[in-house]
């Protein structure tokens, strides 16, 4: 370590020592910062938690889903379209569904409940996941977890079939969420090579705001010539609601944060100002002993920073506890860390002016007044 940085380190250590020797002022600064971060967290943290919760509910309801089917009597979509849709940008997942029929558990010899079954094109995704076993290959079946009891199955095994259809082997079970929740009440059969036609295509966009553009692109892939006969269900309305919710909650939190921060900033300025004024002889002595103006600023800011870090930590923990109690939810971590950092920065900004004043005071005049 060179002499310059050793010197700076010694100054910062001195700043730490000043925290202890000015315990009252340091505790006051820590308290104010704790109140800022605690208040922001306790109030807007609740909002942030609510916002996250509301948004995820809306997302669950399928704001990002595009469902496309043909008008009655159309020829359906060629299965080759599916890989082309998956290749579009902003697609999170896509599956195609083919013809519908009912199946029963083969082991029950024609008895048992009929369960709706669809031919499926494409693989599992984030909302349509394998629960046990594996995803069905062509000519195999997977049973939705809602359909397992209806088929009398404990584990996905055996085979299912019907009067019209050959029995197919059950190789797994699956769960469905969001737009695929209903599928979990039935059976999916992997599309065999001779199944070439999709009746319905379900596409999930990567973000709600991409839905409109993506819907157009999907239509272009499926049926460039004959768009009018398509029935498209998007969730643009839901997406609009989502955006409105986000904007409203966001504006409310921002105003609150600005308000609390401004108040805290003023309080901290006054506290640090009175602290350095009370200790002007202390700073005068330091100046005479050789402290430069910047050394004084470093001392004041270090003292403030140390107090503020303590306060910010305490306030964050307390604020989080309050939010947990009241909202029974935790705001996103980025929000929590952001609030703590913001309170700390606000304290440093607030200390800047008093620090400069302390540094510019005439040491001789200060020392003369006993």
């Amino acid at each position: 370590m060179n002499r310059g940085s050793a010197h700076r380190l010694a100054l910062i250590k001195e700043g730490f020592a000043m925290v202890r020797s000015n315990l009252v002022a340091s505790a006051l600064i820590a308290t104010i910062v704790a109140l800022i971060s605690g208040a922001v967290l306790a109030t807007t943290g609740q909002t942030a938690a609510q916002e996250a919760a509301v948004l995820s509910t809306i997302d669950d309801a399928g704001t990002r889903t595009i469902t496309i089917r043909e008008g009655s009597g159309g020829p359906g979509f060629d299965r080759d379209a599916l890989p082309r849709i998956l290749a579009l940008s902003d697609v999170e997942s896509a599956i195609g569904l083919g013809q519908t029929f009912d199946v029963r558990n083969e082991a029950r010899r024609g008895g048992g409940e009929p369960v709706p079954t669809r031919v499926v094109f494409g693989g599992p995704n984030a909302d349509l996941v394998v629960a046990q076993g594996r995803w069905p290959l062509p000519g195999e079946a997977a049973v939705g977890d809602g359909a397992m009891p209806r088929l009398g199955l404990e584990v996905p095994s055996g085979s299912v079939g019907s009067v019209e259809f050959e029995p197919v082997a059950v190789v797994g079970s699956f769960r469905g969420a969001g737009p695929f929740a209903n599928l979990a009440n039935g059976v999916l059969v992997g599309a065999a090579p001779e199944d070439t036609t999709m009746r319905l295509v379900v596409v999930v966009a990567s973000a709600p705001e991409e839905v409109a553009g993506l819907a157009a692109a999907v239509v272009e892939v499926l049926s460039p010539d004959d768009r009018l006969s398509l029935r498209i269900e998007t969730s643009e309305q839901l997406a609009n609601v989502r955006q409105a919710v986000q904007g409203e909650l966001g504006r409310f939190s921002r105003e609150l944060i600005v308000f609390v921060l401004a108040g805290g900033l003023a309080l901290t300025t006054v506290t640090v100002l009175s602290a350095v004024t009370l200790r002007k002889r202390d700073f005068g002595r330091r100046r005479v002993l050789g402290a430069s103006r910047s050394a004084i600023v470093v001392l004041v800011l270090t003292q403030t920073a140390v107090s503020a870090v303590v306060g910010s930590a305490v306030g964050t923990v307390a604020g989080l506890a309050i939010v947990r109690q009241v909202a029974e939810a935790v705001p996103p971590w980025s929000f929590v860390v952001g609030v703590g950092t913001l309170a700390l920065l606000a304290a440093l900004v607030a200390a800047m002016l008093p620090a400069l004043l302390a540094a510019r005071r005439d040491p001789v005049r200060v020392l003369r007044v006993p």
């Binding site: 202890r20 002993l289 050789g290």
Partner: protein, 213 residues
């Protein structure tokens, strides 16, 4: 060596003029006593040669170079590196230990910690306050406090020592310790300047600057 040339100083624009074109030199290796009645400007002159106040007109020279016109940061650096200052009222930090107070004398010059620790022991030992190393200034006597302040001034091994009434509040024995230390510093080659009413202290100085009001 320190000298002042054609020095004039006013606290306020229209305030009374101090020194009125004073030229004087304070040689290295000698102790100079600034004497004169109260209000004559003894403390003021110390602050000016120590670069804490800037002359209204005239110059302060250190080793032949004009230093009174330097920027504040540069003057602070010079003061930190070279000046040991002894305040009339000791001016210790009452919230810190005696040891921390002495160490502060080397803080702004960046004197390494190990050096500070070693010298602090020597100095406090020599000045007879060793046993009170970890006490707070509130727990030591006025005479002891002044010796702690002296140790703080000496810890950076300054080649300029400025002392404002360093024996003002001391009994004879305590004053002797301080006077000895100052004389020794001068004998070691430093510029030593004391502002004092104390005729004993003024008596051991080899040079004298008499200010009149």
């Amino acid at each position: 060596m320190i000298s002042v040339e054609e020095l004039t100083f006013r606290y306020k624009r229209r305030g009374e003029e101090l020194f009125s074109g004073l030229s004087f030199s304070f040689p290295s290796g000698e102790m100079t006593a600034i004497v004169g009645p109260s209000g004559a400007g003894k403390s003021t002159l110390l602050y000016i040669v120590g670069l804490m106040l800037s002359p209204t007109s005239g110059d302060v020279l250190w080793d032949g170079e004009i230093v009174s016109t330097l920027a504040d940061a540069e003057r602070s650096r010079l003061r930190a590196a070279r000046v040991g200052f002894v305040f009339q009222d000791a001016a210790l930090d009452s919230t810190r230990t005696v040891a921390a107070n002495v160490a502060e004398g080397g803080l702004y010059a960046g004197v390494p910690r190990s050096v500070i620790t070693r010298r602090r022991r020597d100095l406090l030992d020599r000045f007879g306050v060793m046993l009170r190393d970890n006490h707070r200034p509130g727990e030591v006597s006025g005479g002891q406090a002044q010796r702690v302040a002296l140790a703080r001034a000496m810890i950076k091994d300054p080649d300029i020592v400025l002392a404002d009434e360093p024996t003002g509040n001391l009994d004879e024995a305590a004053a002797d310790v301080v006077m000895e230390a100052l004389a020794e510093r001068a004998a070691g080659g430093a510029v030593v300047i004391v502002a004092t009413h104390d005729t004993r202290l003024a008596g051991i100085a080899s040079r004298r600057l008499e200010l009149t009001s």
